[in-house]
Assembly symmetry: C2
Homo-oligomer: 351 residues x 2
């Protein structure tokens, strides 16, 4: 019994709440829009569900409400941004703009960020390259460590995600957005809320045995994809998005669930690749279409209904949710009603 | 009972063989050196073991012996190289040089290649950035498709590897070099040769059931790391290293084991990130050292002797093999003796 709410209403409510909490109106509108884009693509762990934690963090003094996002250092094809502890959405939207601008002249460009914060789903920023006929890549240090080194017990790494967006012609763009762990931690929390057990392979306990009860999540840790390979990927993403930018990595990572006020010094990085630098853009998109169609037309395993290409399910959700509204769970709807009362703003209404 | 052979002898023998097969002496020396570097770091599926297949390919007319490796198009921070069907080592060594040179002024640079060929282990090229205090990233389309889309049966993707090399200070550099499948296909072949069965998780058959007998490898396919995530990664690497460069991808990939003469139009890409563009290089390396030491010092699971950081085992092998010689299996040694007779060159001798 989810409630469906239009993107416009979600956006307006989030902007209202963030503005009332203290963000500048333009900043609140920008963050609200990106949060709503997250919900529209089905990244429901990163949209309106984050509004309450964001407001709590703002109220705890954990976010700079009047940030000066500035370029610390740059070269023709790179820049390092100081996010000045702004909402991460503002920092990474600016980073994406700079990367796209620099890639237009240099062919490719890379922009790293320090003193940023949680910015929502990785794919939001990688996708910003698409309308410029560019490929976007995004790397981030996650905001809580749930992953030990392979064979270890100390949680020194996060689920450090990677996103890559590649434009196609007639087909939907290919958009990969993945944590380097088998499951993102949000999925574990969701299983706990639903009272379900986790499949084997998501988490292990301190003896290395499968951990299936999500309520015991604190006794174990997430498993990286491909065992030691995913550990390596999480480490590399952390070095590129964190260490290279003098942002938090390893022991320095602040658990944003447990600590609402310490600046996180979150590190992220975005890269844009201008397809026109490599040749004809239309021909490239046609080649991508051929790849997508060959994948779709692959013979299938028994009981497999269709072959998916990364990003297709999100693409379909965007179409459906724009038409029908974004599904919001009743429990979340109730939380948002309470928040509206607390902030003294108009409540979110379904219709 | 492996035989240990010095790097110098391996290098000289490979250069001799490649030269006699038809490569220009300088090109033969360059390829032989890179093959030997592969053996020295323990990438033994990519070193001297490839000499016979390379010679066969050259003799079958599958390699251009007088290539003109040229820049098709470039911008300040990118170039697209036409490898002119040269040995891949020559193409990607040149690509790395250009990427490093461009990154020095632009901060980062990306060089793609088309009409290239198998170039040995991915990490060889990512590592070339290290001595310039740069981070190197390498992506390649594998030379045989062993991976279907997730849920599919048509082998449309290869083990498309990723390598990333990050310099450290006092610690060994961090070097990740991984196929996007759980096992590289060479490991399956090795298990077949050794008469051993494969662990569950490497391959599945056409019903989706675990395939454990490596002699039945042709009846099934490799599994991607993290299930659909690894499928997504293999696809993205293929798009970045293949499709973007107008190189082979998907159905166009030539199986270089089955076909010795058709040009492969192999696609690869390399990226260099100049650390000094982001800040003080020494401070960066110190931060990497801290991360490495924190990983090393992590509390360990029962029965785990030490925590490894990606690249450490290769680093240790490089030290050991430079001192003691590279271990060569007797069967391979015999193959190389026959090759020496066929080519009428001095045989490889152990001492």
């Amino acid at each position: 019994m989810t409630i469906k709410i239009s993107a416009a209403r979600l956006r307006a409510f989030s902007a209202d709440a963030l503005c009332k909490a203290g963000l500048e109106p333009a900043d609140a509108a920008r963050v609200a829009d990106l949060m709503t884009q997250a919900d529209l693509q089905g990244s429901d762990g990163h949209g309106i569900i984050r509004l309450l934690p964001y407001v709590k963090r703002i109220q705890s003094g954990g976010i700079n409400l009047r940030p000066k996002i500035s370029v610390v250092t740059e070269r023709p094809a790179m820049a390092l941004l100081d996010g000045d502890n702004a909402m991460g959405h503002l920092v990474m939207a600016r980073a994406a703009e700079i990367a796209i601008e620099k890639a237009r002249t240099c062919g490719v460009a890379w922009v790293g960020a320090q003193h940023s914060n949680h910015a929502g789903p990785a794919s939001l920023y990688a996708r910003m390259a698409l309308e410029h006929d560019m490929i976007g890549l995004y790397f981030a240090v996650g905001n809580a460590n749930h992953l030990p080194p392979w064979g270890g017990l100390d949680m020194l790494l996060s689920t450090n995600p990677i996103a890559v967006a590649v434009p196609a012609g007639e087909e939907a763009p290919i958009v990969l957005d993945m944590a380097t762990t088998v499951a993102a931690y949000g999925k574990v929390k969701a299983k706990a809320q639903q009272g379900e057990s986790m499949p084997e392979g998501w988490m292990i306990d301190r003896e290395g045995k499968p951990l299936l009860d999500p309520k015991r999540a604190a006794e174990g840790f997430l498993l990286p994809i491909g065992g030691y390979k995913g550990y390596g990927l999480a480490l590399i993403v952390g070095l590129l998005a964190g260490t290279l930018n003098s942002a938090a990595m390893g022991k320095q990572v602040v658990d944003f669930n447990a600590d609402q006020s310490t600046p996180t010094n979150t590190g992220q990085a975005i890269m844009a690749i201008d397809i026109s630098a490599f040749g004809d853009v239309k021909a490239f998109k046609e080649r991508v279409d051929v790849v997508v169609r060959d994948l779709h037309n692959s013979e299938r395993m028994p009981n497999v209904e269709r072959i998916w290409v990364p990003g297709e399910q999100s693409h379909q959700k965007r179409i459906d949710y724009l038409r029908d509204g974004v599904p919001v769970a009743p429990a979340l709807f109730a939380v948002l009603a309470t928040l509206a009362t607390e902030l003294d703003i108009a409540p979110l209404s379904a219709e």
